[in-house]
Symmetry: C2
Subunit: 354 residues, 2 copies
């Protein structure tokens, strides 16, 4: 399972599909005598030969199980009686690829060990289907690591709405712009580059139309190549403008980058439902303050990336507006995952405590 988890992590973190890894192990040989599917026990000390391995490289490409079966075929390995160790329960769903449960059964796999059950209503049932066809199935193996790897995707699938990361960039006293509206730059170039790296890991970036008009952001994911040149990243997230104001025809949002979508609503639930309908699993909310406040007030923020500059303004535009909080006990409190220095700024990554 360690190897399967490592393989899974090689897949893309973004996109509608989860990161999954799969390793096919030869039947355990007992005392030198071949005898089928092995004990299937995680504490079985005997090393078993790897027949094939693979991982999912994103929507439209083979699932991890199919990749592992193909790998075994390429090696000329016989997978009859093998054990499939896979980080997520094999799917029972014909989508862009056929169901993995059927593929494993058809190949003669005798046993499936998985870490996490598939919460996807369209894909779940693989374990039950396999058991019904005489395959031994055991779930929950190294489940905490599997859950951790798939945190964003599992949250989105279980809840039915995208995982929401809110990014803020403010002065130490909580302002995103000075009294005259100037905001360039409060946080530094390193923080902005760091935030661009996050954009490349999400499916959609959301901003309010007020921000579109005021700041004219491009909302592209840029990255610095090995040649030192900054250019558009290969993956560009969906660009989502939320609000009733029109996106100006000359807006940079209409330039090179991800597809532009406008959601003409201020209702956070409606915005998230629209994005869920597009198979968006991970949304990055980049403000401005009105939109950030709406997401926080709706308890719709799963993770907070707060870049804070060593700057004091004393007045100006606040990073977050009124949340209806009257007393400290009612504050929106997050749990810190990590604190990083990024250039001259501090980045606190924290998660919502439900």
């Amino acid at each position: 399972m360690s190897r399967a988890l490592e393989l899974a992590a090689l897949g893309p973190v973004r996109g509608p599909n989860p990161q999954v890894g799969c390793v096919l192990l030869a039947p355990s040989s007992g005392d030198g005598v071949g005898r089928g599917a092995g004990t299937g026990r995680a504490d079985d000390p005997r090393p078993r030969r790897v027949l094939g391995a693979g991982y999912h490289r994103g929507a439209g490409t083979p699932h991890a199980e199919a990749a592992a079966l193909a790998d075994a075929r390429r090696r000329g390995a016989n997978v009859r009686g093998a054990t499939a160790v896979v980080t997520l329960e094999p799917c029972n769903h014909t989508g862009r690829t056929p169901p993995c449960a059927v593929a494993l059964y058809d190949a003669g796999v005798a046993e499936v060990l998985h870490a996490v059950a598939d919460p996807n209503p369209a894909a779940t049932g693989g374990a039950a289907w396999l058991r019904g066809h005489g395959v031994r199935v055991e779930g929950g193996l190294r489940a905490p690591e599997g859950e951790s790897l798939l945190r964003v995707w599992l949250t989105a699938l279980r809840r039915g709405t995208p995982f929401v990361t809110l990014k803020t960039a403010s002065s130490l006293d909580g302002y995103v712009a000075a009294a005259d509206g100037s905001s360039r730059w409060i946080t530094g170039a390193e923080a902005r580059a760091h935030a661009h790296g996050i954009r490349a890991q999400v499916d959609a970036i959301v901003v309010g139309t007020g921000t579109v008009v005021a700041d004219d952001p491009a909302l592209t994911a840029r990255e610095r190549g090995v040649d030192g040149v900054v250019r558009l990243a290969e993956h560009q997230p969906l660009r989502v403008a939320v609000g009733r104001r029109d996106v100006p025809p000359t807006a940079r949002l209409r330039g090179p980058g991800g597809e532009l979508v406008q959601v003409r609503s201020h209702d956070v639930g409606e915005v998230l439902a629209a994005l869920a309908g597009r198979e968006v699993r991970h949304v990055l909310v980049e403000g401005g303050p009105v939109l950030s406040t709406a997401f926080l007030a709706a308890d719709a923020v799963d993770e907070l990336h707060a870049y804070v500059a060593p700057v004091l303004l004393g007045s100006g535009r606040r990073v977050v507006g009124d949340l209806g909080v009257r007393t400290v006990a009612a504050a929106r409190r997050f749990r810190t995952v990590e604190v990083l220095r990024v250039g001259d700024d501090a980045l606190t990554v924290s998660r919502w405590v439900r």
Copy 2:
């Protein structure tokens, strides 16, 4: 000089006097033949015997030079013709102890190498006095490290007013209290304990009388002993209440801890002058917002310790009030020294960019 700097750092960082270390070296022996004061060159590769060494342990105790001379006497070493390597120019001042320049000369020291010149108007002139009495003196040796060690003290002495550290503890959106005035607790227990450790390193803690009335702070330095019990630290900083309101008779500020001083003024210059008159070199300003704002508006903050909790309030009492800043270019911008995670909070230590 490396050893002298190490020794200096063993002394107390607080108090009116600087951290100073001194090492007495035997005359260099040349080619095996004793010949007086050595070459005095920092790049002289020949190791020279240490005759004595010492450091300053705080006001009222011997200066580093006197401590090193005493150490040499205890060892029965003859310091005639020796080189004194000292982190700060020897003083020329009879205060609680006699002048070090005279003590070195009287002991027969032939050469003095120091890192930093003494800026103290009452003590400076030691190098000139020694030269006038035929002692070879060279300054500026490892000056950057010497300056770095004495940063706080040198700033206070050169300017004539204490070095000011401002401590803030706020939510990510810049509030120190919620709308109903509640403020316990925004930052966590670890951050509070960390801040207590800083108190033990300063000469005075300053708060506004508004904060005295509202929060009734004790303003004591507390530390956890090896037995795990938290108690008052040995050194207690002066407690300074700034403002015209009376400190209530039952205030914790009047309980166990450092001496209580009230400065009945809102003028930052007057407050600092009053503290300079008490030989205070390092002041910690702990708020509230009115006092913090006054210090920032007066450009009187040298270092900022900002504890920021992963909490959003959306409204309440702001950490800093209006600074007269209208545009980002005019913001109070500090340079980050370090970013630390302290419990669930982020601590940014930064310095004023003059």
